[in-house]
Amino acid sequence: MYTQALNTSDADDRNVEDAARAAAFQARIGADERIEPNDWMPAAYRKTLTRQISQHAHSEIVGMLPEGNWITRAPTLRRKAALLAKVQDECGHGLYLYAAAETLGSSREELVDAMLAGKAKYSSIFNYPTLTWADIGTIGWLVDGAAIMNQIPLCRCSYGPYARAMIRVCKEESFHQRQGFEIMLTLCRGTDEQKAMAQDALNRWWWPVLMMFGPPDKASQHSDTSTKWKIKRFSNDELRQKFIDATVPQAQFLGLTIPDPEMKQDEAGHWVPGPIDWEEFKQVLAGNGPCNRDRLAARRKAHDEGAWVREAAAAYAEKRKRRQFAQAAE
C-alpha cells in the first residue's frame, strides 16, 4: 500500500470550463463533502486523481514482486503463510485501487497498459532488491510503516471511492507492519549472523524508505492543488518527520542503528535526519534503480503470458451467451 507524492502540476486547472461550477465544487470540498463518481468535477481534479490512484494501484502490484521473491524461501511454514497472505493482500489492494480509478472513466486495462509501457509511475521503493530474509522484515516494518503514514490521511480524502478503498486497505494492512516488526525482532534476538542480517537490511532500506514520502516541500511546488482539493492533507516533509519520529524508538528497541550518523534530536524531540540523496531518488524514478527493468519485465511477462487465458475466458463467455440465446430462440 504505497502512494508516493509524485504529482506534477496541472496547468489546465486554469482553463476550467465553468467558473460557477468550479466554485460550487470547491465549496463542497471546503464543506468536507465527498465527491462521487457521477458528480461534476474539474477535468484537472479527475486527471490528478486518476494519475494518483492508478500510480498507487501500480505500486501495489509491482510491490508484490520484491516480497514475492521470498515466498518460496520463507524460513518457516508460519512465515510462509503470513507472507503469502500479505502479498496476496497487496494484490487485493491494487485491485480495489484500480476499481476506484475506473470510476473516473479509465478502464483497468488502459491503466495497466500505461504502466507496462513505462508511461505510468509506481513507488520508487520497489525498484530495490530483496537480498535476504531480513529484507522481508524490513519491508513490513519500514515500507509498510511509511505507507500507513501516507494512507491513513487518504481515508479522508475528498474523492469517495478512493477514500473507501483506503479504509478497506488500511483495515487489512494492520497486520503487515506487525508481521515485519516481528520478523525483525526474531532476527535481532537470534544469532549474531541474523542480527547482522537485520542491520544490513536496515542499512540498505533506510534512505530509500525516507524517499517514499516524495521530494522535500520546498522542492515540490505541485502539491498545492492536491491540498486545495483535499486529496493530500499533509505535506511530504510532515509525513516523513512523523515516520522518522515513530521509527527511531522502534529501531532502538530492536538494538539496530539507523544508518545516519548526522541524525540528531532537536529541542522539540523530533529526530532530524542528515541530508537525503535526492539525486538517487530522481535516478530511480527515471528508471535507473537497481530493479526497474526487472520489475517491468516481470509484470510484462505475467501480462503477456496471461493473454491467452483472458482471451479463452472471453471467448467462452461469448460462446455461452450465444448458446443461451440460441436456446431461448428455440
Partner: protein
C-alpha cells in the same frame, strides 16, 4: 496492442444473517460464474460474508447527481412523515 477491456462487476455481500447485502467493491471477470468466484476470493478472505451477489456494472441504472434537487429535496419538507413531528404528552409513555 491495447489490452481488450473485460467486463466490470459490482459486488454485494451479506455479512451476517439478518442484514441486507451491501456494496463492497468491484472486480473484473469474463462471466458471472467467474465473477462470483472472484468475489469470494477477493472480498470474503477475512470471513466478511455469508452470501454474495454480483451484478454487471453496466446493468445498474443510477440517478443523475445534477437532478439531486428535483429528486430528493421535495422529501425534506415532509416532516410529518417522522414520529418526532407529533406531540404526545410524556405521561402517555413510550409510543
Amino acid at each position: 496492442m491495447a489490452t481488450p477491456n473485460s467486463p466490470l462487476w459490482e459486488v454485494f455481500i451479506r455479512s451476517r444473517n439478518g442484514l441486507s447485502h451491501k456494496h463492497v467493491g468491484s472486480l473484473h471477470a469474463a462471466d458471472a460464474t467467474l465473477a462470483l468466484q472472484a468475489a469470494r476470493d477477493i472480498y470474503t478472505r477475512r470471513g466478511e460474508g455469508l452470501s454474495i451477489w454480483v451484478v454487471p456494472s453496466n446493468a445498474i441504472t443510477a440517478s443523475d447527481p445534477s437532478e439531486k434537487g428535483m429528486m430528493f429535496e421535495p422529501a425534506e419538507s415532509k416532516i410529518y412523515r417522522h414520529p418526532t413531528f407529533y406531540d404526545v404528552p410524556e405521561e402517555v409513555g413510550h409510543m
